[in-house]
Amino acid sequence: MIKSIEEYLDLLKTELNGSDPATIQDALADAEEHLRAAMVSLREKKPEITEEEALGQVIEQYGSPDETASAYKEVERRTTPQFTREMPKGTTALGKFFGVYSDTRAWGALLYMLIAFVTGVFYFTWAITGLSLSVSFSIFIFGLPFALLFLLSIQGLALLEGRIIEALLGVRMPRRPLFTEKDLKWLERLKLLVLDRHIWLSILYMIVQFVFGTIYFVLFVTILSFSISFIAIPFLQEVLGMGVIMNNNIHYYFPTWSYPLLIFGGVLLWTAFMNIARGVGQLHGRMAKLMLVTD
């Protein structure tokens, strides 16, 4: 029994595993659009049935995840067989290690590591300022509306972070804010937000993102510089005549026979880091999903 639209989308994504990424994206967007529209109209027509029953009926008409997936695969197979590509299976460990260069997730994770530094600083400042102002303003009349605005901004930022994560790390995150009742008094809305566990987890995420962002950035810059330095040593020594260490006019040089080793070491270091970055990106995405996504 599927309990939420999110769960349906996850199942659909699993069923479509191996299809063209664009097909998967289309299928998910179509299903989300349809299921949400159908839910709203069904709940309006029959307010007495529960959320779960409504979802059951809607899915019955739309088709189960495997039925829907097979419809997309069928059309994909009929129309554009040349565009579907699967990852070559059974490659060696060495192939997998160096295959990281053709993996968009690894490049996305690298970019994320850079961006996380900037967003991390911003999130941290925003969360700490908002929290402390909300607490200190609470002795004034405008304290509560301010707190409400702050918590709403956190929801917005969480959504934005989710978009960045899905785009760069490929971890599915919600695309749209959750439905909220429109005719809710603002005080009740504030109460709902304060009692929502995920708002506090989101604030915590914004605070720890500062730490993660800094670590990612430092690792990225350090390892990039080391790798490039190793690769460039032959050029620096032979062409520019610079030593590895220059101290009081005494130059220290690497011997010529070590050049291939140095270049290889530099490439190896960077490739290893790309592999690590991909893994870290997936872990980070999973953490973000736990903290930012309301179930």
Partner: protein, 119 residues
């Protein structure tokens, strides 16, 4: 033993493959305004009455493939009550193709009817 319900399902699926394109083009041709998926699904539900010919989810991939062939156009617009919606509209090329397809369908229909009746 022959599993006739599974065979019927397969038969239905194979027939749907072509008919769905014809039906979707016709619906979008008759409607003056661009329509989004759920709207189309609702309308088809109304047409089909109690019998359900295909799952609503199976309409969307057909819409995409019609769009890829240039018979439909789509644009995404935000909606008041939820996720943004993709609105589909028939193109001039789609209208020409539809006229041809409708002719094919009429010939096919009379051919099949005659074959079933036997003369």
């Amino acid at each position: 033993m022959v599993d006739s319900s599974a065979l019927t399902k397969k038969f239905q699926k194979e027939m749907n493959a072509g008919i769905a394109s014809l039906v979707l083009l016709s619906v979008l041709d008759k409607n003056a305004e661009p329509m989004y998926g759920y709207q189309i699904a609702k309308l088809l539900e109304e047409y089909s009455g109690d019998a359900s010919f295909m799952k609503q989810g199976a309409l969307y991939p057909v819409l995409h493939s019609l769009e890829n062939s240039g018979l439909l156009e789509s644009k995404v617009e935000p909606s008041v009550s939820g996720p943004p919606r993709r609105y589909y509209e028939i193109t001039a090329e789609g209208r020409n193709t539809l006229a041809l397809w409708q002719r094919v369908w009429k010939q096919m229909k009379s051919f099949v009817d005659r074959a079933i009746k036997g003369g």
